[in-house]
């Protein structure tokens, strides 16, 4: 199914930056920075939609998510980060093909 970019953008744009999601995210304390948590992922995806720029840190953020949906339960704006991450992964794979795999480097602190 083709991802609706407009609705994806509207959803990430709802983030009020409270950070409540970071308290329940299993990956944020393992990664080197905020991009390894839902608040970071949502805002990096927002940036990606606006600027179409793919960086190593962006890829690490999107591909380090465990899709556990813990963040959805505590998000005051009800942002479904797990589903958004799945959608963005499919966009990246479709548009940038398999070469992207080599660029994914998930780092520990």
């Amino acid at each position: 199914m083709k991802v609706n970019i407009k609705s994806l953008y509207d959803e990430v744009n709802r983030c009020v930056y409270c950070g409540f999601c970071e308290a329940v995210c299993p990956t944020i304390n393992l990664g080197p920075h905020r991009g390894y948590g839902p608040r970071g992922r949502v805002n990096l995806i927002k940036d990606f939609i606006e600027n179409k720029k793919i960086t190593t840190e962006f890829l690490a953020s999107v591909f380090s998510c465990l899709l556990c949906d813990a963040c959805l339960i505590v998000c005051p704006a009800k942002i479904d980060t797990g589903r958004i991450v799945r959608d963005v992964r499919s966009i990246i794979r479709n548009e940038y093909k398999s070469s992207i795999n080599e660029k994914i480097t998930i780092r520990e602190r």
């Binding site: 744009n13 930056y17 970071e22 991009g35 990096l44 704006a77």
Partner: protein, 476 residues
Amino acid sequence: MVQKNIEDFINEINGSIGKNKIITDDLILKLYSKEPSGLVGKISAVIFPENKDDISKILSSAYKYEVNIYPQGSSSSLSGNAVPLKDGVIVSFERMNRIKEVNTTDNIAIVEPGIRIDELNLFLEKSNYMFPIDPASQSVATIGGAINNGAGGLKGAKYGTMKDWVNGMEIALPDENGTRLFLGCMTVKCRKGYDLARLIIGSEGTLALVTEAVLRITPIPESIVTSLALFDNLDDLLDSFIEMKTSGIQPYIAEFMDNKTVEIASKGIDINFDANGNMLLLSIDTTKESSERMKKYLENLFKKHNANKIITSLNQQEAEELGLFKIRRNLFAAQVSMGYSLYGNGKKLQVFIEDIVVPPSKIKLAINKVREVSENYGLPVTIGGHIGDGNIHPSVVYDITDENMKNKVVSWYKDVMKIALDLNGSISAEHGIGLLKKDGLIMEMNHYNSLKEINIMKSIKSLFDPKGILNPGKVL
């Protein structure tokens, strides 16, 4: 382009604390330059110290190269306290989050500044202890951030704010060596000349960086009776609260929401009762033997003041089963969703949360006045807060692209602060001054004919931070 002094600073830090503690990727820098107030700044790097020596090295180099330092916990502050205004670097404490010692005989916990309040409490619960400062953001708010913002919370009526729960702390100064000092004492009682520990609390990262804190902890109460009461008439609610306070009962938690706020906050949550009217949520700590007596007292009090619904629990487990805290916990989410139902889904919204405080005896006047002013502006304002200590949070959600509405909100914000001052209150109880309340601080100093305080504060700032590199542009 990165300024030369910042580039030299980053090179020196790379050598002294290690490359894996510094990030300069543009996209990641953006993530650290925002906060929930909606303000956005710009920086050249984020540095993640892992110990006290790292902090001293960072400050020493920052002093040498005159680089602005913005200390940051979890960026959950609401007054622009953690936003980098001018170029510089953020020092994030997220990797300094250890609990170093808990001593229940001495009633202290020694912690690093990056520990989140909830994480600390989870650990203390094993010993049946707690750290009682509980801002609504406690799941992410860090101890370092709470110290620097002078944070409070739901239990403020009984336990006060951070200034009452920090015995001592180690700080690092922005000087040649990043000199570290231990302020205050390990004990509650402490007469070490001027109380510099209390000076750091609420200083919003403008004087020094906190590297370690000696916190007071307290046993979790044996039993907590909680009553949720709904009133058609707001004055009845406020009268019942004032009667209780006057009779000598000090609530553990005393939260209030007006009827409009209750209506939006009770939507979409799983509760087994109709929530109509203005809500008072009251918890009193007791012993098991006196719980029934307190329950009856509260029910009689609320009945006398015409409550339309009263639900009371004898302990915390029962309170959770009855869902008594659900409406309060849903407040922030409800404010956000109210915004989308008002302005549509594609909009960029901002929730603006006021933070005034008045003496509890004046709370009735303050709430009625805020309601009147908000109605005059025609803004979608919700009113709730920690009624027990006189701290209320009138909040408005608005579309940040609508200039007309933005101007209205700024004007409303000033009028609300004026209401607090006219009732012998203050413009900020627990969120701090940051960027958003600098005008309010001057307004308050003028109101109390105390403008010279600003000069004294500026002198203190230059003693601690002679080059003005710590969180510049904030507070003063």
